[in-house]
């Protein structure tokens, strides 16, 4: 009998204690934030979307080699003598035209391994983390600053140079050792 009334008392008081707790929480400021309007401060050294500063890129391909998932694709063309490609911000002289610098961010695993080998610190993580797309192709980012015609130009220039070089070489070869060639022919 004593237990019966104790149960009732215990039941009522614990309900009231619980109600007090929830009532107090009614006035505790909410911990949620209105996400697209308000954003949490990101921690230092956060890893999000990659960005490449093409002004500084020397096309050394080290980032692409460091990438464990092969999401960076780089193609370069050598410059022809006399072309001035400018210098990077830390004083390195650029020697290659970067004709393709694609990062497939859908593949990226945010390991940041590409950032460390970069000699000019031109590839780095930004604080942008909202980049959803409806099509997967749109997640392949092109960083090349050259236009398509410029790329064609550079390729043509280099091919011309190569051809000239080859021609030169051939000419040199013929002028230096014509006899041998003739011997070979025979």
């Amino acid at each position: 009998m004593k237990e019966y009334f104790q149960n009732i008392w215990y039941g009522l008081t614990t309900v009231l204690i619980g109600m007090r707790v929830t009532f107090k929480h009614l006035f505790v400021p909410a911990v949620t934030i209105q996400y697209p309007d308000v954003k949490l401060k990101l921690p230092e050294r956060e890893r999000n979307r990659l960005y490449v500063n093409m002004d500084d890129c020397i096309g050394c391909d080290q980032c692409a080699r460091a990438c464990p998932v092969d999401c960076i694709a780089i193609e370069t063309v050598k410059s022809i003598p006399g072309e001035d490609l400018g210098k990077t911000s830390n004083g390195k002289k650029k020697a290659l035209w970067v004709t393709k610098f694609d990062i497939d961010i859908a593949k990226c695993c945010f390991c940041q391994l590409c950032v460390f080998p970069c000699p000019t610190e031109c590839i780095y993580m930004t604080d942008v983390f909202e980049f959803s797309e409806f099509e997967r192709d749109k997640l392949v980012y092109n960083f090349v600053t050259l236009t398509q015609s410029e790329i064609e130009d550079k390729k043509a220039n280099y091919a011309k140079l190569e051809a000239e070089k080859a021609a030169q070489k051939a000419a040199n070869a013929t002028s230096v050792k014509p006899a041998e060639k003739e011997e070979n022919k025979q």
Binding site: N7, V15, G18, M19, T22, H25, V31, T32
Partner: protein
């Protein structure tokens, strides 16, 4: 009642026909609580439920649709209206379609006897409280119908549990109501409200009107009665902690699992209408119904037409207050197990209510 007379006279003057006047006045005055109270209340209460639950859990709740999300329920309603009305091939089609109507009709029947103000009470019948208890039988039948016709084991289980729960908890409800009937000698909710007129110390929870020894003796037993009535009405509307019939985590919301679109909305509407109805009953029995606790502004200003409006506002705010307490309890207490539910009813509430009834009877004789 004043509204009914007004409508009747208005229609009678136009058509000169008593039958048409009667029918029109009945339909309009019968639809008034639905349009003025139930629908707006549901819209607000669903929003409030979300906001209260959110703030109790230190969240914000809906914030996008309208300022602080107040249009969220309207948006949900529009969504429900557009939804496809799915009837699965193995459902019992006639009963499946009839069940939401029956459930809503049953819970709306209760509103016929609620005293909204001295100027409007749907039907001022002498057996108001008894009528309200009787009407809840239709809800049980409708719930069983929904559970059975859904042809789904979860729905059937939920319906069974719901019916068993409602029937069990009707007993303590009736016992508490009997104590009140014994003191006041009336089952008419309007008379009951009129007896608690004046200030808040005339409410039943404070022993009723008048100044006598029995008034002070009643107070503790009225408190016990109020707690029992509140708990058992909470169980009758299937709210947490008594929501095992709808338990989302085990029964996927019980008897309305299979429903979609407007039929689901009708169950929802019935649930919220029920919540308000039981809160209104509790306030009518123990907290003076539509009576103001502090006197009327219309009396001080000398504007008698303001009093019914004030009374309606008091009635609505008392109802909404108890609905808020229901929400508060919902986000405080965990769900009871079936055996705990039955133990609470049969081992605690019913014996206490009985003892309460006998003691109150003795005091009344005193």
């Amino acid at each position: 009642m004043i509204i009914y007379d007004f409508l009747y006279k208005f229609v009678f003057n136009i058509t000169q026909s008593a039958a048409i006047g009667d029918i029109t006045a009945m339909i309009i005055s019968g639809a008034l609580p639905l349009l003025i109270l139930v629908l707006p209340f549901t819209l607000v209460a669903v929003w409030l439920e979300r906001k209260v639950s959110a703030h109790m859990q230190d969240r914000l709740g809906p914030m996008r649709t309208g300022s602080h999300g107040w249009l969220q329920t309207v948006a949900d309603l529009i969504k429900l209206l557009q939804k496809e009305d799915i009837v699965a091939s193995d459902n019992d089609r006639p009963l499946f379609n009839l069940a939401p109507i029956l459930v809503f009709a049953g819970s709306y029947l209760v509103f016929a006897a609620l005293p909204f103000s001295s100027a409007y009470i749907g039907s001022n019948i002498d057996l108001g409280i008894i009528f309200i208890i009787a009407a809840s039988g239709f809800v049980v039948a409708g719930i069983l119908m929904a559970g059975w016709s859904s042809n789904n084991k979860y729905s059937l289980l939920g319906a069974m549990r719901s019916a068993a729960q409602i029937i069990s908890y009707e007993i303590p409800t009736i016992l508490v109501i009997l104590t009140i009937i014994m003191i006041t000698g009336t089952t008419n909710l309007r008379t009951l409200s009129e007896m608690q007129t004046g200030h808040f110390w005339n409410w039943m929870i404070f022993g009723g009107a008048g100044l006598s020894l029995s008034k002070f003796l009643f107070i503790p037993f009225m408190l016990i009665g109020f707690v029992i009535l509140y708990i058992s009405t909470l169980a009758e509307v299937n709210r947490t902690p008594f929501d095992i019939p709808e338990a989302e985590s085990e029964l996927v919301s019980g008897y309305h699992t299979e429903y979609s679109g407007m039929k689901f909305a009708m169950f929802f509407l019935a649930e919220y209408a029920n919540m308000f109805a039981v809160s209104a009953i509790v306030s009518a029995i123990f907290f003076g119904g539509y009576q103001s606790p502090i006197g009327y502004l219309g009396n001080t200003l000398g504007l008698p037409w303001m009093i019914p409006i004030e009374q309606f506002l008091w009635f609505a705010s008392k109802g909404v207050f108890f609905v808020l307490v229901q929400m508060w309890l919902r986000w405080t207490l965990p769900r009871l197990r079936v055996d705990q539910l039955m133990a609470l009813c049969w081992k605690y509430l019913i014996p206490i209510a009985f003892v309460n009834l006998i003691i109150v009877g003795l005091i009344t004789v005193l």
